[in-house]
Symmetry: C2
Subunit: 253 residues, 2 copies
């Protein structure tokens, strides 16, 4: 059944400490992820309006930002670090529904409660708006709502691609696709796409790809022995033959 026992207690959903007036140094105009974030829908002049509502949240590695079932009070944009979106079945089976990286938006849901828990993989910083403020901003700036819809659609497309992976692709194919996705994200952040950093554990990857840690590990060694990738250490992969990976992940959109 692939149930892993966690020896250390799951991090408590600590009371969110939202620091008002975030990015004191630069404000929204100097925001490092502005070009990636939803805020790019608004002209720079409106930054002041944004800043009035924005606040920063710092989440140390392993801590919980939001807990499944909690009432949704904030929406977030990841500024730095990385997080995982997870859910548990009653018997302990875990799903990782996705990884959240700088520029990603958290808060696409009509539900009044969180449908997934969100845990920090590394120390992370997020820019937070109360759901209410977000609603008001959307009413005031239709471009913002349009941008949100646009992003929700992209997210939907990506999630459907993952469906394809899980339903009909072999373990190696899934891993190849995953590595390419991570590379694409790095490129989006302006980093070198040939070397991919994997902040998450093998267990996270397994629960994301619908496999076991052992299978994930074996797939890594398989790709390595094929010469498609090289791993300096478990968290750092170099894509030696991206074409080979693409051939495997082919037709994932």
């Amino acid at each position: 059944m692939n149930i892993r026992v966690l020896n250390r207690p799951i991090g408590q959903a600590s009371r969110l400490r939202v620091v008002q007036n975030h990015c004191d140094a630069h404000g929204c105009t100097g925001c490092l992820v502005r070009h990636l974030a939803i805020c790019s829908a608004l002209p720079a002049e409106e930054a002041a309006a944004l800043e009035q509502h924005a606040g920063d949240v710092v989440v140390p590695a392993g801590q919980v930002l939001a807990r499944e079932g909690d009432t949704r009070r904030y929406v977030f944009t990841v500024t730095s670090g990385s997080l995982r979106r997870i859910r548990f079945l009653p018997d302990g089976r875990r799903l990782v529904a996705g990884f959240l990286m700088p520029g990603d938006f958290i808060g696409f849901s009509g539900a009044t409660r969180y449908r997934h828990s969100i845990e920090a993989i590394e120390d992370s910083v997020l820019c937070a708006f109360s759901s209410q403020d977000m609603r008001e901003l959307c009413d005031r700036y239709p471009e913002l709502e349009r941008e949100l819809l646009e992003r929700a659609c992209v997210e939907l497309d990506n999630t459907r691609n993952n469906l394809m992976s899980l339903a009909r692709m072999t373990p190696v194919e899934r891993l190849a696709g995953f590595l390419l996705d991570m590379a694409a994200r790095r490129k989006r952040q302006g980093l070198d796409e040939a070397s991919v950093a994997l902040p998450m554990t093998r267990a996270d990857i397994a629960d994301y790809l619908g496999l076991t840690v052992e299978t994930v590990s074996r797939c890594f060694t398989k790709l390595r022995s094929q010469g498609a990738i090289a791993t300096d250490d478990p968290q750092h992969v170099r894509l030696l033959q991206p074409e080979a990976l693409e051939a495997l992940a082919e037709a994932r959109g």
Copy 2:
């Protein structure tokens, strides 16, 4: 690899014939799926504005409404019938990413081209708007854009639930969840939720649940022998013990 060979040619993407001024008999105000559809975001008085742009499309069973890769020109709302959203891998593996029922909206995507083909399972009728008209309607009626965002989020939640199914649930659990989903849809349409009609084939269900036809069939017999369901014929299932199904599908949100 689970590749099924289709002996008959795949239906051609026939030129869409959009009949202007749809629902001649009643118009939008008399629309049977209005309460389910995005149009419910607008007051009935605005129906006239809608009708100017709406048109009907009739798709016979087995025919293709939209082909993966085609440029996206229309968005649709299903009025009657049912369709499947599919995609193929180059080697013939198929994924059914979802089923579309009355009230469902087709067109959540920023992409300029369709990411999936859409085929009619039964004879179906859809209400169509050109993407351009839809854009203009959204600009004019912010409530509409908000409704779209709302729906996209619901769709995203549902798709993530499916991820959970595919990644971490056993075949019987997946089937149980699927049957409950179908029952919930029937309820939404005001029909009896204890008896579920399955217009799609076992192959469709298999490709949707990430299984083979054989496994799906065996799961049906398993549920039947447990007394959880009864099947009058393959397309008509009665849910005798919904609680039993829920226990299986537990925690799928």
